[in-house]
């Protein structure tokens, strides 16, 4: 039993349990204590990732693996979660009695995600996914007195349960036809039987459908806009970042590891999901008037691009997905941090895109930051959001998937339209009612840091980050 190899998970689990007790006994007073402890735990877990045991390989009879791929995913997840805790602290503390329990739920979700990105067995995959999902359902309906939040939670739960059912059905088929739940065993069975077996093929399709729900790829994306809109904004920021990374990395590992020999079978499915996500994410965003819904469609759109890297497969493809997700979470967290600043004079949060009108004159700094995130999400050079898109297309071109690359890149043009709309509202329109000033300095610093990373200065990261993702992806093969 190599417990050193799961040190981050141990830290987070014990920490979450202790904080739960603290929250239960101290109530609202513990809010600040719980939040900052949670941030410290997450950062501590991130530090623990650097240790040598984190490359120990298969653990616990092959249930999970400690490898570079998982470590990279966990690093991203921990950092995103830490940001999510920080931004929620100010948001909930003002008017909410259960603020202290929020960090606990985040920590539990993070433990689930840690298991997701390191799972090498279909059962541990499912357990991790459910632990994450259950915490997420509660988080979505966290302001239960708010009708929209309650609706979001319920919707997420019902559809999530359905997706879990589909995933489990797929897993049971794979288990039934291969006799094992180990990823390598499944891969061996595919190698032996090919995809001629209808049972295996069904298992593959259902498993991928369940995973597509979690990454909100079209056609399993319907929950995303509603949940993003209804959930409290810090929770939405969390949903858009950490669980996306976890689910995407899980998808990469399942596809390239367990289903690796069946690449021809899942490539068609993922090609469709990628292009459908890109185009639907771009087209459906046109009519949106709520910025959170718009960012929901933006996340669907971006998932589509990341899936192009997955379709390409191989080390280059996997590392492009990792790179994409790393930059994507910075852009999306930055955008949500800006959304958190959208408050009217009474401090009530605003979500309408029209309220951004003329922001460049009333709040030039905020407008510039949001503009940087929007151009970057659209993938317009010289902003750094261009580079991950380039990498996934590069992986696709290297595999000779020209039609996919051409179709995908045309999707960026359609998508650019609605990102431009935000810029237009902020820069071209006459100023509306100004937002309330203030907000925590830490959040401001985070916005500035995120904007700096996606600015052209981000290109200096290409070397180190590229090395990191290439090593992480290499550990899969």
């Amino acid at each position: 039993m190599n417990f050193a190899a799961i040190l981050p998970e141990i830290i987070l689990t014990i920490g979450a349990l202790v904080l739960m007790m603290v929250a239960a006994f101290m109530g609202r007073r513990a809010s600040a204590l719980c939040s900052w402890s949670a941030v410290a735990l997450l950062l501590g877990a991130a530090m623990a990732l650097l240790g040598e045991p984190q490359r120990a390989g298969a653990l616990f009879g092959g249930l999970i693996a400690a490898d570079g791929f998982g470590a990279f995913g966990k690093l991203l997840i921990y950092l995103c979660a830490a940001v999510a805790v920080v931004i929620a602290h100010n948001w909930f503390e003002r008017d909410f009695e259960h603020a202290a329990e929020y960090p606990v739920l985040i920590l539990l979700a993070v433990v689930g995600m840690s298991v997701m990105v390191s799972a090498t067995n279909l059962m541990s995959l499912y357990v991790g996914l459910e632990l994450n999902s259950l915490a997420a359902y509660v988080l979505a309906s966290y302001r239960r007195t708010d009708e929209r939040s309650a609706e979001a939670g319920l919707k997420y739960f019902v559809l999530g349960a359905l997706a879990s059912g589909i995933l489990l059905y797929g897993i049971s088929l794979l288990y039934g036809f291969t006799g094992t739940t180990q990823f390598d065993g499944v891969a061996a069975a595919f190698l032996r039987d090919g995809t001629g077996s209808i049972g295996l093929l069904f298992g593959l399709v259902f498993t991928l459908a369940g995973l597509a729900f979690k990454i909100s790829a079209v056609p399993f994306h319907m929950w995303t806009p509603d949940v993003y809109e209804g959930a409290p904004t810090p929770v939405t920021a969390f949903f858009a970042s950490a669980p996306k990374v976890a689910a995407m990395l899980l998808g990469v590992r399942v596809c390239l590891d367990a289903l690796g020999p069946a690449i021809d079978a899942w490539r068609q499915i993922m090609t469709f999901a990628a292009l459908a996500s890109i185009f639907l994410g771009a087209v459906a965003a046109y009519g949106q008037t709520n910025i959170k819904r718009l960012l929901a469609y933006s996340s669907i759109n971006n998932v589509g691009f990341a899936l192009i890297g997955l379709v390409a497969g191989g080390v280059a493809g996997a590392s492009s997905v990792l790179f994409y997700m790393a930059v994507y979470v910075v852009m999306t967290l930055g955008a949500f941090l800006c959304v958190l600043r959208m408050k009217n004079e009474n401090g009530e949060p605003l979500e309408g895109i029209d309220s951004l009108s003329g922001l460049s004159q009333s709040r030039p700094g905020l407008a510039a930051a949001l503009a940087v995130f929007m151009f970057s999400l659209a993938g317009i050079p010289p902003l750094f959001g261009f580079w991950p898109k380039l990498m996934v297309f590069n992986a696709a071109v290297a595999e000779g998937l020209y039609p996919l690359a051409v179709a995908g890149i045309l999707g960026t043009v359609i998508g650019a339209f609605y990102y431009l709309k935000i810029i237009k509202v902020m820069y071209f329109d006459a100023p509306g009612a100004p937002y309330a000033r203030g907000g925590s300095g830490l959040e401001g610093a985070l916005i500035a840091l995120a904007a700096l990373v996606v600015s052209p200065l981000g290109y200096l990261l290409i070397g180190p980050l590229g090395q990191l993702t290439a090593n992480a992806a290499g550990s899969l093969f």
Partner: protein
């Protein structure tokens, strides 16, 4: 070469100045922008002075690897040098033209222009395919903001159209670039210029690059973004758009399409000639019926750019050198014409041609300069327009007489619409009292237009100054495309001179 990374300085200086400008008050930002652009111009002149026309193909080379297959590779040849000079020359004039005309959000305006300058210089300096793309596409952002914030009434539609049109054209080029890097194993532009791609692959790559450059150029029928963007953009925005951004299309053809895909380029000559021929005739006719001055000049740009594509795809020295001179000349002349429109727009706030008339009476100096630029646009000998258009027509004639015939009608039609415009604005009776009351050029405006007038005459009288740095590079390009050079349709046969005696007996 000296050890100073002069090209990086030219790119980074306006970038830094632009960021500083954002935090300055309006007058500080104006002076900052003017001084920065003048220093850049000074550096540019030093660059031109130290550039060795007979030296290595690539000079002032810098190369720092960034990682991930992209490097900060800079270097220029004579063609890039001339286009950089054009950019640096026009920039202070643009800032000067906006001195009074732009009153709202001045710091952001100056920052956008300085950013634009950095990106434009970057395009001409980049020696890495991906770096080129980043600069090439990056230019969309400041221009989108310039049109959208400081533009006219229809600015929002125009800014969207500009952005999405050019983006749609360019993205396919990115895929082609990735395919090239994958095939050739390098992203260095000089290396790729010497790499021989498989002709069947060239065909696709050429089309992808053409999609981008044709939109940027712009060629008929993908020119429709241009009139909107020009009309709505503020004066200085139009100058930069016509003066430099359109040149990126021609530069792209010279730098990428011709040397990297010679066979495909030769194969597509008829296609390019047909599109250019239509552009010359159709857009000239459209220009003839415009009521809006800026729109008229915008359409004339499309027609003039067709001379560039004619010349470039002629595959001979006259054609290519002519195309280059047309690019430089058009950059100066169309910029100056937009400034001329701006001068009277600032006074009367309309671009309607019918609202003016008889300006020669009350604005003699203005009318004189406007006449000079009109003549240069028409291609009067002695002005820059003549040199370029003549050379490019000579080149075209060697390849296809019919194409030359069609192209030459452009000169006639060009004279028609430009003189018609000039006649309506400057001659005739003064029917509009407010137009008749306008004051002549101010000292500032004179200082903006006079340098362009001098450059136009210089290029018309002694084009050698401008051709000299580019000659060796055109020679290298010709060497490269020689193997794909098409046979012209002019078959010269030696005549049989009659014997002298027969001649003399007949006379008696």
């Amino acid at each position: 070469m000296s050890g100073i990374p002069i090209l990086s300085i030219l790119v980074l200086l306006p970038l830094v100045a632009g960021i500083v400008a954002l935090f300055q008050p309006a007058s500080g930002a104006r002076w900052n922008a003017l001084i920065t652009t003048l220093i850049s111009l000074g550096l540019g002149i030093w660059l031109w002075a130290t550039y060795d026309p007979n030296g290595a193909q690539w000079q002032f080379v810098e190369n720092y690897a960034i990682g991930g297959g992209i490097s900060w590779a800079m270097g220029i040849d004579g063609i890039a040098l001339m286009l950089i000079m054009l950019t640096l020359f026009l920039m202070p004039i643009c800032i000067g033209a906006s001195w009074r005309a732009i009153e709202k959000r001045v710091p952001e305006y100056m920052a956008a222009f300085l950013l634009m300058q950095a990106l434009m210089i970057g395009v001409f300096c980049a020696q890495d395919l991906l770096l080129f793309y980043i600069f090439f596409e990056g230019g969309l952002i400041p221009m989108y903001l310039i049109i959208g914030i400081w533009g006219g009434a229809e600015r929002i539609k125009a800014s969207y159209k500009f952005f999405l049109y050019t983006l749609a054209g360019s993205v396919l080029m990115l895929i082609a670039m990735l395919a090239m890097i994958y095939t050739a194993g390098t992203s260095s532009i000089p290396a790729l210029m010497a790499y021989n791609f498989d002709p069947s692959l060239q065909w696709w790559l050429w089309l992808a690059f053409f999609a981008s450059f044709a939109v940027k150029m712009p060629m008929w029928p993908v020119h429709t973004w241009l009139p909107d963007a020009h009309v709505q953009a503020p004066t200085a925005g139009s100058v930069i758009l016509a003066g430099v951004l359109l040149k990126m299309g021609g530069y792209g053809f010279i730098r990428f399409s011709l040397p990297m895909f010679p066979e495909a380029s030769a194969e597509f000559i008829p296609f390019v000639f047909v599109l250019s021929g239509i552009a010359v005739v159709v857009t000239s006719l459209i220009a003839l019926v415009q009521h809006d001055m800026k729109k008229l000049i915008a359409y004339s740009s499309v027609a003039h750019m067709a001379f560039v594509t004619f010349g470039l795809f002629a595959f001979n020295r006259q054609g290519i050198e002519g195309a280059l001179i047309v690019m430089l000349s058009h950059g100066l002349v169309s910029g100056a014409l937009f400034m001329c429109v701006g001068v009277i727009y600032d006074r009367l706030h309309t671009r309607e041609i019918a609202r003016y008339g008889g300006l020669a009476d009350n604005m003699p100096i203005y009318s004189l300069l406007f006449l000079l630029f009109t003549m240069a646009s028409v291609g009067l000998p002695g002005t820059s327009g003549f040199v370029g258009e003549f050379l490019s027509l000579v080149g075209t004639y060697e390849v296809s007489s019919w194409a030359a015939v069609v192209a030459t009608t452009g000169i006639i039609l060009g004279a028609a619409y430009m003189l018609y415009l000039y006649w309506r604005v400057c001659y005739g009776k003064q029917v509009n009292a407010d137009a008749a009351a306008m004051k002549d050029l101010s000292v500032r405006e004179l200082w903006l237009l006079a340098p362009i007038a001098a450059a136009v005459l210089w290029m018309g009288i002694y084009p050698e100054s401008f051709l000299k740095p580019m000659r060796a590079d055109v020679g290298r390009l010709l060497e490269r495309i020689e193997r794909a050079k098409p046979a012209g349709d002019a078959h010269l046969t030696a005549g049989k001179p009659a014997p002298v005696q027969a001649h003399s007996t007949e006379a008696h």
